[in-house]
Amino acid sequence: MVVNSLSFLWFFLAVMVVYYLCQNRKELQNIVLLIASYWFYSQVDIRMAILLLVLTLVFWLLGKGIGVAFDKDDNRRASILVNIGVAIGIGALFYFKYLNFFMDSIIAFAGLFDLHLSWTAMKLIVPVGLSFFTFKLMSYVLDIYHGKIAPEKDIVSFTNYIAFFPTILSGPIDRPKPFLKQLTVARIFNPDNLMNGFRRILWGMFLKMCIADRLDIYVSAIWNNYEHHSSISIIFASLLYPLQMYADFCGYSEMAIGVALILGFKVAENFKRPFFTINIANYWSRWHMSLTSWLTDYVFMPLNIKLRDWGTNGTIAAIMLNMAFIGMWHGAEWTFFLFGIYHGLWYIPLMISGQFFKKTKIKVNSHGWPTAPFVAKMAGNYLVVTFGLMLFHSKNISEFWAILCRIPEAWNGSLFFDMPTLVNGAICSIALIYVDIQEEWFPNKKIYLPSFAERWRWELTIALEIVAILLFGIFDSNQFIYFQF
């Protein structure tokens, strides 16, 4: 069930009605939410829902065990239990997502030394959202171990935290403390939440249906047949891909945040205009923020502390490992690993120049616009990101290499121009860029409306957004790109 589908709308409306009918009893509300979440997730595959439930119960028991161990001052036992938790989390990820890849890689590597090993690839269905919920599970036991939270007594609340249906498929990856806290109080129907949530859902739909799905037609047409396209078309499609990715994933996040808000939950933000950044460190602090902050807290910081004796080299090593994790988190393919390493390499000059630790502020002119050198740096950073996403988009390294080789070979061809796709996409992309510029540099400046219309600003915006989606949207679209992770 896709979030921007009619079936989801009916499902959500039904859940919302029942959920707020029992708004005075938080326990009942939590049970409604739990049933809804599991029903939603089981629509993908009932076996996945069972796996999710089993893992949830195991981690809940582990959390309890760590709490008991701390009560008895048995730190060793707590340490063993948290390590078991992390091992189960990583083990589940490894088994479902990376086992075949790992074995294939070993066999290929052994082949280099004339060692002939054999392995029959296992036919495994990767549970949807696995990378998201395993991270939530691990952060729960780690946070208990580090004393940030107490073990959750209520199994329903904990299960809700893991399976919360707006975020189970593609995040944002919420931390246990702020989320579980919200489950301890009854969520009373709030018209402001409904209005703001609805607006974010619509904005997410606009990003997904009018920009991401539109650009996908062009980008896929070129990338899936790159051997027949000119250099200029391949470069143009590659330059559009970061925008498509942003609209796709940010669109999903906006919808998830909006749905959660209507249900009375504030979940983590995931994007903060990532292309208005001048270096890769800035970019990652604004792109898929819930993942990067998770990895910063649970991977980079501990690594950095462990490697602190190596000085700058230790930090660089921690960054490279962290970025390799980010890359591999996206999938079992060497392209993802290289994607992470490629980004990691861009951190090295920042580390050496000391910019990594500085908070960069973009200079603006008297009108509030960023100055030309900063615009040039932003454009440069966009190119850096584009090259990385070419790796990300390629099915494997051979394809990536073939595309790179195609670029210098096919300069004599013309630009493939799919007029309806590009014009529709351009109109909507300009709207997105306008909104992002407005929020980034002119957050207090609103479009002027005559006073009689000013009081209906929200209504006007919503009505126009719906009409825009109907006019420019694609209604028979693909899944979200991030569902595969």
Binding site: N424, V467, L471, F472
Partner: protein
Amino acid sequence: MKKLLIHITIVTGLFFVFDRLLGCGLGLLYSQSNATDEYKISYSNESTCDSLLFFGSSRCLHHYVPAIFEEELGVSCYNTADWGIKNIYYHYGLLGNILTRYIPKTIIFEIHPCDWLQTPYSGAERANSLAPYCGMSNQCDEMLQISGNYWKYQLSMVYRYTGSLPNLLAGKYGTMDRSLKGWKPMDGVMDTTNVKAEEYPFAEDTVKIALLERFIKECQQYHIRLIMVESPMYICSKQDVFRFPRILAQKHGIPFLDHYRDSDFMGHRDLFFDFGHLNRKGAELYSKKLSKELRNTLPAI
């Protein structure tokens, strides 16, 4: 709560105002289209007045040269076919819309397996091209209902034109050679590398078959002479692909002119643009051949 209801009411009201205003504007642009597919569809639905009409999908669009038929048969012709694997859902809706304006004397229907088989790439959604004509005829509305979008087109006028704004603007300011009368010639010669016959391993579709029967019966009811035709292919399936339309034509007493394996065309690379579509030269030759055949065998046209 009261405040929220007011907000919702205002949003709904504003939406309908914006949607109707913009929808009317888009509808105007659509019917004023001078080029692009929108012109073709709007002309076929709103403006045709010719005695002989060609119905079908891309093979019909590229294969039937109205000027040649006009010269041979002495009647005005128009090729209403549209590309994009259009099937009986679209043809039946189009027929309904045309019948609200006038009754053509003859329809030449280039039938394709997607008109009676459960082809996964061509289902009821093909009728959505008729969305701007929602409400024009019962047949059209019924097809849009089967496609599952009728209520959406009723609810939103803008949705009828979703994604088509650039085409509408290009159509408004572009031009098209109207003397071709709906025919779209293809220039070039096919590349025969790896060419294989198209197979249709699909079950019969009872809904499509019922619609085909209704199409035939409605033509008979309005005394329209219906001729089913199959034009040549570069390479043909070994199966008897057109057994079904042959039986159907026999059942209803209508002619079925089968040129699928016509040796004047089959295997002649220079007459094809690709394995299923004749190029300009091939289409002109085929139109001459078919128009003569019609003149000799069906003199009443």
